[in-house]
Amino acid sequence: MLSGHPSGFLAGLYRTLYTIRHFETECIKLYRDGFIRGYFHPYLGEEAIAAGACAALRRTDFITSTHRGHGHCIARGADLRSMVAELLGRSTGYCQGLGGSMHIADVAAGNLGANGIVGAGLPIGVGSALASKLRGDDRVTVVFLSDGAVNNGVFCESLNLAATWSLPLVLLIENNQYAVSTPVEQATREPELYRRGGAFGVSSHQIDGNDVLAVYEKVKEACGACREAAGPVLVEAKTYRHGGHHVNDPGAYMPKDRLDYYKSRDPVERGRRILLQSGVPEEDIRLLESQIERTMEEAIEFAKGSPEMSTEEFVKFVEAY
């Protein structure tokens, strides 16, 4: 089936999908080898949401991210060297090694930050969307949030604020069906999460979160509505993690048949298939993949060779605190 999109565009989408997949796979190895410490929440299995959504954005738009945020950073065009360096706690990282996996932000690129607090990016996204409205510019904010976040109080508050003020905000629920280990149907009586938007007067939609083109098209439509002052829009993208909550959680509570089902609908493989079907030869795709692998290798070398902030530099950095 042909997508109707030019192959250059599809190659761009696949580049993002594969970069996220490869970045996470390589960084998990770095974690296992002791180079990365702390919490690491892989985005494996959810790549199509960040890739599709960010492809629909303009450079000037904003996103807020989550604790499972590497994919959002990459899809927003992050520099892999600064990202790996941050995960390794080096001073060349996005946050000089002070933030780590859960706190990467790149305000200049419109990424207002990952977050260690579930749901906390919602009000912040309301704020950047409010800023856009007050300034009269046409920037849209996309808030990535999880099925866990919808049961936090700020979800209702923020959805209501955004709706009341008609803000240019897209709430993009990445429903991976677990809040840490609690299945979504155990955490709410209405697991069709998009239905909550209607109660707030918000246009709400559910899509296949493993289909990068479906995500792209729906988020593009949502952004268009926001730019015409018809926001906010709520989109629920259904997906599934390829493993546990973080790298040290084997995810034993995830039923095998369900995992197999979602793996058979792997978003990266699907993106690759679409690209092949558009007429791009296998060897060209392989070349693209090897370029990404090479970039990642260089990023890892760069990070490993980078210094850490010294205690003296740190003391100076926090002087004003």
Partner: protein, 338 residues
């Protein structure tokens, strides 16, 4: 940090209320900088519970003076997001007691964003709120919670005690690139004082000697300042000259001013309305003994609220919060007077 401290010029000053001084600060900063806007409950048409934002809606319009639903966590968070995105929001939380609903956004988000981004991100946000007892508002509308914010690195904390400081500090707060928790006192809104007609700023981290004296140093802030000044007048009648030091901001704290006074008087009383346990007074006391132990001629006295929620009954409320007599007794103990 902000610019130089100006002092009131008596010729150009007039007497206005604390709430009017705050209103002037907001108006001037909104005129000066289009990125400044206000958000809060009932601040627009109603002008705020304590009339601080009266008249601002008609001057600046509803896009810059925004009434919010009762959603503290999210409208404070919206302030954080708007600040990160380049605006300078001033968010009003009706009572400091209600900041507890927004603590994640204040303490985990606003306070830490600049740090977590390795210094690249900025949150030029002012959270205006008011605290304190005095009107029989009971346990959930009378607290003094400055210690909570004092405890969190990344926040600035201002506690103005008179109209001059209220105006100068608020103007500075709005211009700072770091989040400020600006705690007014409900019993001070209708107090008056001299405020210059000309523009001025009050720098954060620069305290003020509110009354000079040589026998004892009394450190206090917010509504405890007028109480300590009255106590100082009465003590002067008995020959005890008290120096009253108002740090004006708790973060940053003007420890040099405090220590200078302590070295001179050698006797210290710290007065806070907040409960004693885990309070700012205890921390200031520990800093004084660490930095000026050899100068101390008596144990540091702390006069603080009782370790209890504030009761509704007015007599009991009074008993829970430091009064002039408590300050006078503490000063006398400190200077070994009868």
């Amino acid at each position: 940090m902000a610019q130089a401290v100006s002092t009131p010029s008596p010729t150009a000053a007039r007497t206005i209320l604390y709430r009017e001084a705050l209103n002037e600060a907001l108006r001037e900063e909104m005129q000066r900088d289009a990125s400044v806007f206000l958000m809060g409950e009932g601040i627009a048409e109603r002008g705020g519970s304590y009339k601080v934002t009266v008249g601002l809606l008609s001057e600046f319009g509803q896009s810059r003076v925004i009434d919010t639903p009762i959603s503290e966590a999210s409208f404070v968070g919206a302030g954080v997001g708007a600040a990160i995105a380049g605006m300078r929001p001033v968010v009003e939380i009706l009572f400091v007691d209600f900041t507890l609903l927004a603590m994640d956004q204040i303490c985990n988000q606003a306070a830490k964003f600049k740090f977590m981004t390795g210094g690249k991100g900025r949150v030029p946000l002012v959270i205006r709120t008011q605290g304190g007892a005095g009107n029989g508002l009971a346990a959930q509308h009378s607290q003094s919670l400055e210690a909570l914010f004092y405890h969190i690195p990344g926040l600035r904390v201002a506690v103005p005690s008179d109209p001059y400081d209220a105006k100068g500090l608020l103007k500075t707060a709005i211009r700072l690139d770091d989040p400020v928790v600006f705690i007014e006192h409900k019993s001070l809104y209708m107090t008056s004082g001299a405020v210059p007609r000309d523009e001025y700023l009050v720098e954060f981290g620069k305290g003020r000697i509110r009354r000079a004296g040589r026998h004892a140093t009394v450190i206090a802030w917010s509504n405890m300042i007028p109480r300590c000044l009255t106590a100082a007048d009465r003590l002067a009648g008995e020959g005890i000259e008290v120096e009253v030091v108002d740090p004006r901001t708790l973060v940053p704290l003007d420890l040099e001013l405090v220590l200078g006074s302590v070295r001179k008087t050698e006797h210290v009383v710290i007065v806070q309305e907040a409960v004693r346990r885990g309070g700012v007074a205890s921390d200031i006391a520990s800093r004084i003994q660490a930095e000026a132990f050899d100068f101390l001629d008596s144990p540091i006295e702390i006069v603080a609220g009782l370790d209890t929620p504030v009761p509704f009954n007015l007599n009991l409320e009074k008993a829970c919060v430091p009064q002039e007599e408590d300050v006078i007794r503490a000063v006398k103990r400190a200077v070994y007077a009868k």
